[in-house]
Symmetry: C2
Subunit: 97 residues, 2 copies
Amino acid sequence: MDSKARAVLTAKTKVLKALAHPARLWMVERLEGGERCVCELVDGLGLDFSTVSKHLLVLKNAGVVVDDKRGKQVFYSLKVPCVLKFMHCVEAVMERG
Amino acid sequence: MDSKARAVLTAKTKVLKALAHPARLWMVERLEGGERCVCELVDGLGLDFSTVSKHLLVLKNAGVVVDDKRGKQVFYSLKVPCVLKFMHCVEAVMERG
DNA sequence: TGGTTGATTGGCATAATAACCAAATGAAAA
DNA sequence: TTTTCATTTGGTTATTATGCCAATCAACCA
């Protein structure tokens, strides 16, 4: 495995790692229904504001979501529509458990 | 979020976490070409036998691979064919980075 | 039987994550 | 301009993940 192949692998796992947390996956699923402000996500998750903010940063750095500040609020939305389609495969893995 | 929804999320993230490591993802991609014995994977990765064995256990516990002991060797193969299809979406995320 | 090979397990040190609280930022309202 | 509100950042601690070494196990061979 050369260094280029290693870099590609690391980039892919960055996306997977971003999705591989219950709070972050919940937020991504929630964003399927359209953009949400941070406060809505905090309410739904029952976590600290700072914790949710950091989770959103992870998703943003991975290229999964984008943010848009309007007025006092920040709205997050999915950057790539297929993100949740591919979750059907994950569910298939679970069912064949 | 009730406890049932939380359990489903945790189960999904178990699969994602299993894939979210360079060595494990590399092995899964390699298994796309058919079953491989542990020794082949060790050679390709350049990691310790014990390390590779533990990574494979993570994939097995997540339901991504199955093992088959034949003689002294253990062969691993993908349990769910769609695992790599959904990686195309991950690649799409990377390209729109 | 005794030894070798392929693989797993246990143990340990180190690194990376995740949660909270407190404090800082920054834009809008007063 | 001062205050306020939504969010982010910094700091700390607890938990989890990773990788190597040594020991073990199971199957084959001499």
